[in-house]
Symmetry: C2
Subunit: 444 residues, 2 copies
């Protein structure tokens, strides 16, 4: 596809190319730009019909947007900016270098400029920072007919017309009415009679993750955002909510794997940035595993006498680590999805005690049998290793389930507490148990 397009540009088949592009979806056209050599970008962009062009612009990645903006004339820039919804404009501005931002801001009208600045000032990850202001607002005294007139007059520029928001004279949100309700009602019905009172809403300062969970819980197409005086200031639409969901899941997964989250996709992150995401965690975890080494050093003499004990260290540490992360990851995901709260801690610990005892007994039994039949070790060694496994699994699961809950309680990120950290703690615990049981049983 991309080669064909380059060829068509080269041989100047612009009319034909224009036709092909106008049939395509914005997201697919944006994907073309990913593989397009930079010098073709402005030309291809200018071939897009005006409305499609701004839809494509929003879908492009930040680097491509920057290249295009730099090539835009002032009037082209203004044309694109005029077509953007507020939330998209803010997204773009946040990714651009200072000189480009300056140029963008200088080409927006003063009112929009103020709104952009307001949104930019909301805390990162807050509802305010991801909302848009292009919504349909109605008054409760309007009839259904009035509402449709208003939607027809202003609807084209609204991000959604499917949920309309009813506000009083102080812009306080007093109800919502869906386009479906409007369509199914009589023309002379009054909005006050068909609107849903007590609508669900969020505050500008609420965490965007909570906003999205609420939107999904109540199956909304858009979530109204109000300020501290309950005045309606914006909405978060479902397509943006999906993006937030995907990002948050990716962030959690990255944190669990000891990576500092990045907003860029992997293939678009530079080598140095990828190293910056990874090296600090590797260093911290490496240093923290020094403890584990210290425990081994402490029992050096015993290990020198019973070298066979050493060969079971990886298995014990590995099983402990896996048991712990099974529990921690389950709890962390439950917290992210709001299925688990801190008040459940005793229920969770009690469940994990029972689960870990069953897991521990099964694994210890299996190990004992395997060591006796396959490894041909003495029963005393098999006993030491099996007992260690049992205790390690129980402790690992207790640490794994409770640490994320405690982290959340004191305001840390539970996902950061996940696998790698818990593994380090469990590694140390398991060796400590191992050598102590060995010392007791073998009298060393």
């Amino acid at each position: 596809m991309i080669d064909e397009i380059i060829e068509m540009i080269d041989i100047k088949k612009y009319t034909q190319l224009k036709e092909i592009l106008s049939e395509m979806e914005p997201a697919d056209i944006a994907a073309l730009f990913d593989d397009l050599p930079q010098r073709y970008m402005p030309l291809l962009y200018r071939l897009l019909p005006k409305e499609l062009a701004s839809e494509v612009f929003v879908e492009l990645d930040a680097d491509t947007q920057e290249i295009l903006i730099k090539g835009f004339s002032d009037s082209e820039l203004k044309e694109v900016l005029d077509e953007l919804y507020l939330d998209d404009a803010v997204d773009i501005i946040e990714e651009m270098p200072a000189n480009v931002v300056k140029r963008i801001i200088s080409h927006t009208d003063p009112e929009l400029r103020n709104t952009i600045n307001e949104v930019l000032n909301y805390p990162k990850d807050s509802a305010g920072s991801i909302m848009t202001i292009e919504l349909v607002d109605l008054k409760e005294s309007m009839t259904v007919h009035d509402a449709f007139t208003r939607i027809r007059r202003t609807g084209l520029d609204k991000e959604t017309i499917y949920t309309c928001y009813v506000t009083d004279k102080n812009r306080i949100l007093i109800g919502i009415v869906s386009a479906k309700d409007l369509l199914l009602a009589e023309e002379d019905c009054v909005i006050a009679d068909i609107m849903e009172k007590n609508p669900i809403f969020v505050n500008t300062l609420d965490d965007k993750e909570d906003v999205v969970l609420a939107l999904s819980k109540y199956d909304l197409l858009a979530m109204p955002v109000v300020d501290n005086e309950q005045r309606l200031v914006g909405i978060v639409t479902v397509d943006d909510a999906i993006d937030v969901l995907q990002e948050e899941a990716t962030e959690d997964i990255e944190k669990m794997a000891a990576i500092t989250p990045s907003e860029k996709p992997y293939l678009k992150t530079g080598i140095i940035d990828t190293c910056k995401q990874r090296i600090p965690w590797l260093l911290v975890l490496m240093l923290s595993s020094t403890f584990t080494g210290k425990i081994i050093s402490h029992f050096e003499d015993a290990l020198g006498k019973f070298v066979i004990l050493t060969s079971f260290i990886p298995m014990i540490m590995g099983t402990g680590g896996n048991s712990g992360s099974q529990s921690s990851v389950t709890v962390i995901r439950g917290l992210s999805l709001d299925e688990i709260e801190f008040k459940d801690i005793f229920k969770i610990i009690w469940k994990e005690i029972r689960v870990s005892l069953i897991c521990g007994i099964v694994l210890a039994g299996a190990t004992f049998v395997k060591m006796m039949l396959i490894d041909n070790v003495s029963s005393i060694i098999a006993f030491i290793v099996s007992m260690t496994l049992l205790f390690t699994i129980v402790l690992a699961k207790l640490v794994g389930c409770s640490l994320p809950l405690l982290a959340k309680k004191v305001g840390f990120d539970p996902a950061v507490m996940a696998s790698p950290f818990i593994t380090t703690i469990v590694d140390a615990l398991s060796l400590f148990i191992y050598f102590n049981i060995a010392s007791m049983v073998l009298h060393i």
Copy 2:
């Protein structure tokens, strides 16, 4: 809240309770049932206004639904069933035991029964299995006025009226038109002139994950589903898509943590089921770490002579494991989000080689300095450990990034290949490198 409700039931304040409930959101009422003792459930459910009742029913968990269905009279059951959308009915049926399913099926009319059976026959995780059939279909010869008449007449029972689907006389999907386009068009416009031709659609057999990614990519409120003859058979709405997204992310996270995924939330899964999710993986990984033990046994003599080497094993294995899972998890998530494809493998390997060399050199350098200054070991030991780290990190990252891609290529689940399996491989590799370098340098 729940205590108040129980009290109100006990002192028979039904009218007041009814009023409170009718103001609440279905999802919030369903949450009440979670904490309600079983004997109160039927009574509370019967207090709900009819329409709200079926909205609440859909949100309840399967156990509560079963309890309620068992208590329903035949006419009550029919009332609930009549209000359900097809996809919700199918979801419920899939969770019920055979005798309850039989009773449900015997109370649905023959036409619906056939459709339910059809949907139940689609493969698990296919678009067909999650779609609903309650959609607004239009003909291209209709005017906008006709379309509104049709929406007003049938819209109440449709899952969404915001996207309408234009089909020809053979039910083949030929276009879509949004309610917004309809509202902004003149009453006498013909649908053929305002509909979007070449709409995006999926096939009934497509994986639901791909359906959801496409819906999110193109910012749709509903994705049309067609059969092999391109006939429109259903739609997947955005609220169901969000649920699929959440489930799929949870599944990936569980697999990466060596847990067999379950569809039930953690707190609602029984002890035995939780153990079944966890024990098989712990056993497999425990047995596979036997290799690592074998490598240690093989170098028992060397370890006996240089016991200090043992104390660095946890640090080397831990750092290797973490390095590997950083890469594997990044690639797995990229695959899930469709940001990475198999054809990118060489690009990815080349990137990981450079990243791993930088990570390796930094970590090896840090370890060397730390060992010389803090651990006070001889420079020869520090050299062995640092070199091992460098090679381990490079190998771990290569294994970590390529295994998930290869797994995907041959049709396995990349997430299952993640952290735990890769950690086991990397553990063995790192020890192998460690002892070989040690043997060479120390001539043992």
